[in-house]
């Protein structure tokens, strides 16, 4: 078991190194002179030369990459070219709103997605099942930003139940952005739970539980759902990736002062280092969450625990 954890940890470090490599490689894709993009046409030759030295553009890629990884490991992501503040500080300020919004969206996903999937599986091939399946397919097809705009149009403009955007109105501010962000994940989780539950409900131990005369609710909730949870937990962890991407769009629609909006603003002002910093931090967060999910299997499923110990 300890060996399994160590193996996963080492692998995650390799993935993180790969992520930094991809990010650094994208910087090499910048067409034209990056100093023109970062400093504008009006910058002096001295300013450009200083920036070139700061970015290490005059050094080979391998050296540049090694410097970048060392800096990142020290928590130095460089400075934003617009605000001149350290990028890590910018991200630290914008992170809490994104985290809060994502957690609320994840909660909504679990509270709605799981029961919807279970209901759909227990009543497979009935009208309820078809309704849940149809709604989840719709959830996968409608773009996040359209859902957000529809909710704003109906619930903020027409019926004035919730604020249009921002996070100045306490709990009410969270409702529309969190629901918007959660809808796609609800669709994925309900489909996943349905498929996983259908598999489990056909297993011998469920038949045994029923044969013992246990109430159907106990069979489904205690025996079925617990066994069906492993693939659903994987899907939930992958949802975090979807939520992070969705947050970029949701925060733009609802003017939410999080990391997504910070990144979009940085893209528009061509603050490339800030964009890279945001991408790196979010991708690293995703890698860590995947690692924790993998490790959590060993607690959820005894079969995996035994394999991991072997």
């Amino acid at each position: 078991m300890g060996r399994y954890v160590l193996k996963r940890l080492v692998w995650s470090v390799f993935v993180l190194l790969g992520v930094t490599l991809v990010i650094q490689a994208t910087m090499s894709l910048v067409s034209g002179d990056p100093t023109v993009i970062l400093l504008g046409e009006t910058a002096t030759m001295e300013q450009r030369a200083a920036l070139r030295g700061e970015l290490g553009l005059d050094r080979p890629f391998v050296v540049r990459y090694a410097t970048y990884v060392t800096d990142v490991a020290r928590g130095n992501l460089g400075r934003s070219y617009r605000s001149r503040r350290p990028i890590l500080e910018e991200i630290r300020d914008a992170f809490p709103p994104t985290l809060k919004l994502s957690l609320v969206a994840l909660l909504i996903t679990v509270v709605i997605g799981l029961p919807a999937g279970v209901l759909s599986a227990v009543r497979a091939n009935t009208a309820t099942d078809r309704l849940v399946t149809a709604v989840s397919l719709l959830g996968l097809s409608v773009p996040v930003f359209l859902i957000g705009l529809l909710l704003i149009y109906l619930l903020a403009y027409r019926w004035q139940v919730f604020p249009v955007g921002g996070m100045d109105n306490g709990a009410a501010s969270y409702v529309l952005p969190a629901v918007t962000l959660a809808l796609t994940s609800i669709a994925v989780i309900s489909r996943m739970t349905r498929a996983s539950m259908l598999d489990v409900l056909g297993e011998d131990f469920i038949r045994t539980a029923r044969a013992k005369g246990l109430a159907e609710a106990v069979v489904v909730n205690k025996h079925g759902l617990k066994a069906a949870l492993v693939p659903v937990v994987t899907a939930l962890a992958l949802q975090v990736g979807l939520l992070i991407g969705g947050a970029v769009l949701t925060e733009t629609v609802f003017s939410w002062p999080g990391i997504g909006r910070l990144m979009v603003t940085a893209i528009k002002t061509r603050d490339l280092l800030l964009v890279q910093g945001c991408v790196l931090v979010l991708a690293a967060g995703f890698v860590v969450i995947n690692l924790l999910t993998d490790l959590s299997y060993t607690l959820l499923d005894p079969r995996i625990r035994h394999e991991a110990s072997a």
Binding site: G18, V19, L21, T26, L140, F286
Partner: protein, 284 residues
Amino acid sequence: MKPAPDVAAAPGVFGRWTRDPVTLVSLVVVGLVLVVGIGAPFLAPYDPYAQNLPDRRAAPGGRFLLGADEFGRDVLSRVMYGAGLALRTAVVATGIGLVSGTALGLLAGFFGGWLDDVIMRAMDVLLAFPYLLLAIAVVSALGPGEITTQIAIGFWALPSFARVVRSSTLSLRERDFVEAARAQGAGALRIIWCHVLPHAMWPLVAFATLFVARAILLESALSFLGLGAQPPAASWGGMVASGRDYLRIAPHIALVPGVAIALTVLAFNLLGDGLRDIFQGGHA
């Protein structure tokens, strides 16, 4: 050497479409979007770029069936041109992912060993980027535009295609007809090209169809963020973004292209699901 025999039977499964109304309807909708997208220059009632300020934000009905936007441009014509742009981007991007991912997946699955390890670990790194972020990283470096969007989405598609093709190749390389070809002295590349690829192809068609839906969603998301095709190009996501400022007084400017995205993606999703069921049934 001819391709393996049961691939020839695959087109026969198309006959099942007539028995699956949902797939059939989605095929019709996808066909309509294709016709509208390709034929937009002939079918659109107005020039999608012609500004007509007295008609700006005109409600649907009357001269403009689906209304006019903030510059008085016909929303219907722009949505029709937008269909062309969305399809072009999605198909080119899916093509980039399909070709490069298939090549890498075939190599990894067929040869195995260290090559498999290197390729698939690289794919794992690309998959470690949360949705949208890899595309954002690429577009922010290359600069916004239609072609860079296609490259970014294609790059994002690459690992998914590589994984799917690798897993089919792993099972195909153990099949009897591959052994037979090997016994006859066929080289590795010939076996991959003539025997493995044709068999891996049909499930890939269903996956690619589902991927077109994802690519359309991603293209619209990038355009919505201002990273896709630049104005005055008629991109669906860009139209929704510019209509956002007029949501209270002229909701049609944002909602019409938004609904077009949702319907098109839904049709591709349903078609992809249907194709997958048909091909899985066909190979069962």
